[in-house]
């Protein structure tokens, strides 16, 4: 589904805050226990899970906006993109 960049921007801010809180000391303290899930230490499993969730949500968000292009200035820059690939030596 195609959304507006504003829609995505709001969600990325929220996602950032979620991520920042999830790896902050209070949450780490909750999971810093001497126990195991699937043979993995709890804290280790927790951090990688949070990490994977963040990446998955980012991947979802990245598909929601169609970027209108790699614009430069609206007015063609002086000596803009045309000059970027002059013949090179060697």
């Amino acid at each position: 589904m195609i959304r507006s960049p504003e829609w995505r921007n709001e969600r990325t801010i929220a996602l950032f805050l979620f991520g920042a809180v999830a790896v902050s000391p209070p949450f780490l303290a909750i999971f810093a226990l001497d126990s195991f899930v699937f043979g993995l230490p709890l804290l280790y499993a927790y951090l990688f899970a949070v990490w994977a969730v963040l990446i998955a949500l980012l991947a979802v968000l990245s598909g929601t906006v169609k970027d209108e292009g790699a614009g430069g200035e609206a007015v063609p820059p002086i000596g803009g993109q045309q000059t970027e690939s002059p013949p090179r030596e060697g």
């Binding site: 996602l15 043979g39 804290l43 990446i55 980012l58 970027d67 609206a74 970027e84 090179r88």
Partner: protein
């Protein structure tokens, strides 16, 4: 392959790998030339950003994890968090950099704060000093792994081998080889845009190699030596001295964790090499969309096996015999897996060379553009401009700076870094790179930030870093007396570098970060608020902060008044730095784009001067380009700053007056609307007065006649019976008229209040029309008006209120009769079924209705003809009631008329509406 690994094999493998890399880079450059860019892909872009993972990640993370557990992880969680914000932060930096042809982070800072050479130079010096330990880390990683691998199959730590002299030191040769390699990659030519597509391709390739190598070792250790994750962690849990590393967050505690996260967040944006690959080398902003999640995914993958390898090593080797930083290599070696160990070595080499190449190329650009060239231009620019082609000089400066950076790295490694763990060395660099954050992040979001503010903040933050981290590292290596650390300088305990002003209880890194950021941000904000921006600073600030608002009329780039500069002179100037052919070609492209003939135009206009400045900026940096142009533009009667200031203020005034214009236009529109509404209200008020008069009049007429006839009857009791009957008949008729009028007023009031009692049922419209014609038959006969009805055979039944529709039809018919001329009058009634509704029309051939009355004829209290002729009979409510009824029943009513040709009233009844819409009655 369990045979001996001969030294020549290791060396050959290393060199062979470097040759493959070079081939990839060569291929990438070739494809760029052919305009079939290899790097125009979000995947390559994301992989090139993974240059973030260096020998630190490849060897150091495992060492760190072995020493203190999970606290290697914030270094990768921080960048993941920042990646979430890339759509805000990095997109803005990318756009700004493209618009301004930014070539490095120093260029970025200098350009933002008024193209300040001083600031550019400061950033360059800081970057060089800061990166030195980081380069040392890579040298250490490569030379250690090489020396360890040499001993195969024995496991011997380099520290046990005894110290070698400088010329037998592997690290020196590693440094020299890497320098040669970087020079070959990055400085073969001077380009107007500082893009190195070949280098990016090679870095992306290296990212793949190091990931595969690390995963291969991880899988071997986890599943080859042990029986999976669970097995390793279960064994660790049985060893109490190791088990505690599974539950805590490491030696730094939670404070250290936060510090590491913050530092890595700054590092991923502002390390010179990260800036190089993410910003300078970016070919398309849209690549960001995928890189945003691909890069964190890469980080996640390369970290999965860090803990298993670290704990695997701790379980495998007797405590204290093998350095954790070498587990990636020593575990396969100990198991006799020579090939895997060699592959791991190649992976580590990949990680280190990628970092060194990009970092040194980025630094060399900064050194030549923002440090050496400005100085050369300043002290002897006359001599410089006399020289023909300066591209050779530029390249020489860059090559020299690459060699210098690597040698500094080697010296740091040789004299200081040898005893430190890899990660500790790297963190030293991270802490200093964070000093760039306020000036850059502030610079793109806060317009008011000034050059003195940025200078003060950067200098202070850097000084605090030197004092609280760099000098102590010298002291611990014996370069400074240890009393510097334990007692403070000159015995001043308050100035102890690890406990400045008595602040104790934090780890060294957090302690340093706190004080340096306090000084940096405090001075940056404070000095910015106390100083004023020059004109060019103000313009640059606006261009940076409002980069996305530059639609329509972009904020003007500071322009030169090109008084009397010959086009030829400008082209010569550009040719000195970017080469004759390239300058010629760029000028030709410029001329073509603007439809100019440079051969004819002898004197350059302001646009061409600015264009040349930008062209130079790509080669020698914004600040130097400005100085060069300033010397070339002759006859500057008024300083550029004054001109810009005047222009800036003038444009602000224009902006204000434009805003005022818009405001006043809005006000005018609002006033007009208000006036229209007021006029309408007045009209309604007038109509209401008229209506009251009419109603009163209409009530009084029958009342008067009732009263007078009643009085006659009362006064003359002996009246004749026939006479009496006639009078009583009049009284009854007038009473009926009175009742009808009152009923109409009441009906209207009820309909409008929504309290009317509607009787909805199945209705045949034809029947209604017939009944209505029949009911008004006497009227037609009385006035000698003919009536004709035309109806289809049958029409659908509708759900509606029969009596009310009947009332509408009767009303229209009696109106038609009223306005028809006796004798010649002719009324036609038509019924038609179309578009899901039944339309009933009543046409007369009377005088018609003037256009201005058609608009208001359905309004309450309105009567046609007040002023025309005699007042027509009726209350002025009939049509209003008709309209309310028809609209309530879901239809419409309207009139078509041309004066002198009669009028046609039409109303409709919807068919498909099973029940009339419960529409609010207006």
């Amino acid at each position: 392959m369990t045979a001996m690994l001969q030294p020549w094999m290791i060396v050959a493998a290393g060199f062979g790998y470097l040759c493959v890399l070079f081939a990839v880079a060569y291929w990438g450059d070739k494809r760029a030339l052919e305009r079939r860019s290899l790097v125009a892909s979000p995947y390559i872009y994301a992989l090139s950003i993974a240059v973030y993972c260096t020998a630190w990640t490849f060897y150091g993370s495992v060492g760190r994890a072995a020493a203190s557990g999970i606290d290697f992880l914030p270094i990768y969680l921080g960048p993941t968090l920042v990646a979430i914000l890339w759509w805000h932060l990095l997109r803005k930096i990318l756009r700004i950099s493209k618009n301004n042809r930014i070539t490095s982070i120093a260029d970025f800072v200098a350009t933002r704060y008024g193209k300040s050479q001083l600031l550019g130079g400061l950033v360059t010096v800081i970057a060089m000093i800061v990166i030195t330990p980081y380069i040392a880390l890579q040298l250490k990683g490569v030379s250690t792994s090489f020396n360890v691998l040499l001993q195969y199959p024995r496991i011997v730590m380099p520290s046990q081998l005894g110290s070698a002299s400088v010329f037998e030191d592997t690290a020196l040769y590693v440094a020299l080889v890497m320098a040669a390699f970087s020079i070959l990659y990055g400085t073969r030519h001077i380009d107007a845009t500082e893009k190195h597509e070949g280098m990016v391709a090679a870095v992306a390739f290296e990212s793949i190699i190091k990931l595969i190598a690390f995963l291969a070792v991880g899988v071997f250790v986890t599943y080859g030596i042990f029986n999976g994750f669970g097995d390793i962690f279960a064994r660790v849990a049985e060893r109490p001295e190791l088990a505690e590393r599974l539950t805590g967050v490491g030696a730094g505690g939670y404070g250290g964790w936060v510090t590491l996260t913050v530092l890595s967040m700054a590092a991923i944006l502002f390390l010179p090499r990260q800036f190089q690959v993410t910003v300078v080398e970016n070919v398309d902003e849209r690549h960001l969309d995928k890189a945003v999640w691909l890069f964190p995914l890469y980080l996640l993958l390369i970290n999965i096996f860090v803990l298993p390898i670290a704990f695997g090593g701790l379980l495998y080797f007797p405590p204290g015999t093998v350095d954790g930083d070498t587990f990636v290599l020593t575990l396969p070696m100990a198991e006799g897996q020579g090939a895997l160990a060699l592959f791991a070595f190649i992976g580590g080499l990949s990680a280190a060379t990628a970092m060194v190449i990009v970092e040194t190329i980025a630094l060399s650009t900064m050194v030549s553009n923002d440090l050496v060239m400005p100085i050369l231009l300043r002290i002897g620019w006359l001599r410089l401009t006399e020289r023909g082609d300066l591209t050779g000089l530029l390249i020489a400066i860059r090559r020299g700076s690459i060699l210098l950076v690597l040698l500094m790295g080697y010296l740091y490694f040789h004299f200081i870094g040898g005893t430190y763990a890899l990660v500790s060395i790297g963190l030293l660099s991270f802490a200093a790179v964070a000093q760039f954050a306020p000036a850059i992040v502030g610079g793109i979001y806060w317009k008011r930030a000034t050059r003195p503010g940025a200078l003060a903040g950067l200098a202070a933050g850097f000084a605090v870093w030197v004092y609280t981290l760099l000098l102590p590292s010298f002291a611990q290596s014996g370069w400074l007396p240890m009393s510097f650390l334990s007692d403070g300088p000159f015995g001043l305990a308050l100035l102890k570098p690890y406990a400045l002003f008595g602040l104790a209880g934090f780890d060294h890194l957090s302690h340093s970060l706190f004080w340096s950021m306090l000084a940096n941000v405090g001075l940056y904000v404070g000095v910015s608020l106390l100083t004023r921006q020059s004109a060019i600073e103000r313009i640059q600030a606006t261009r940076f902060v409002e980069v996305f608002r530059q639609t329509g009329a972009p904020v003007a780039e500071p322009r030169w008044r090109g008084f009397g500069v010959a086009v030829r002179d400008l082209q010569d100037l550009a040719a000195r730095f970017v080469g004759r052919d390239r300058a010629e070609q760029n000028f030709a492209v410029y001329a073509r784009a603007r439809g100019l003939d440079l051969g004819k135009a002898r004197i350059a206009d302001a646009g061409l001067v600015t264009f040349t400045e930008r062209l130079l900026a790509g080669a020698i940096g914004g600040a130097s380009a400005r100085v060069m142009i300033a010397t070339a533009v002759k006859g500057e009667g008024v300083g550029i700053d004054e001109v810009m200031e005047i222009l800036d203020e003038a444009s602000q005034v224009i902006e204000y007056s434009r805003e005022l214009e818009v405001k006043s236009r809005e006000l005018e529109a609002a006033t007009a609307e208000l006036r229209a509404a007021y006029e309408r209200l007045q009209e309604l008020d007038r109509l209401k007065d008229e209506f009251l008069t009419t109603v009163t009049h209409e009530l009084r007429t029958p009342l008067t006649s009732i009263r007078s006839f009643s009085e006659i009857l009362f006064d003359n009791p002996d009246l004749e019976t026939a006479e009496r009957q006639r009078y009583l008949g009049i009284v009854i008729k007038e009473s009926e008229r009175l009742t009808r009028l009152i009923n109409q007023v009441l009906d209207l009031a009820k309909i409008e209040a929504g309290q009317f009692d509607w009787q909805i049922g199945d209705v045949d419209v034809r029947e209604i029309v017939n009944d209505a014609v029949a009911a008004t038959g006497q009227l037609f006969r009385d006035r000698d008006v003919s009536v004709a009805v035309a109806m289809p055979e049958r029409v659908p039944l509708v759900r509606s209120d029969r009596d009310q529709l009947m009332q509408v039809a009767v009303n229209l018919l009696s109106n038609a009769v009223k306005f028809s001329e006796p004798g010649r009058g002719r009324v036609e009634v038509g019924v038609a079924f179309r578009d899901g509704e039944i339309a009933v029309s009543v046409r007369d051939n009377g005088p018609g209705i003037p256009l201005e009355h058609q608009r208001v004829i359905f309004e309450k209290f309105h009567q046609v003809g007040n002023s025309l002729t005699a007042k027509p009979p009726g209350s002025g409510l009939g049509l209003t009631i008709c309209q309310r009824i028809v609209e309530h029943l879901g239809g419409r009513i309207w009139v078509e008329s041309r004066p002198g040709e009669g009028a046609t009233f039409t109303f409709t009844v919807p068919v498909e509406a099973s029940a009339p819409a419960a529409r609010a009655v207006v």
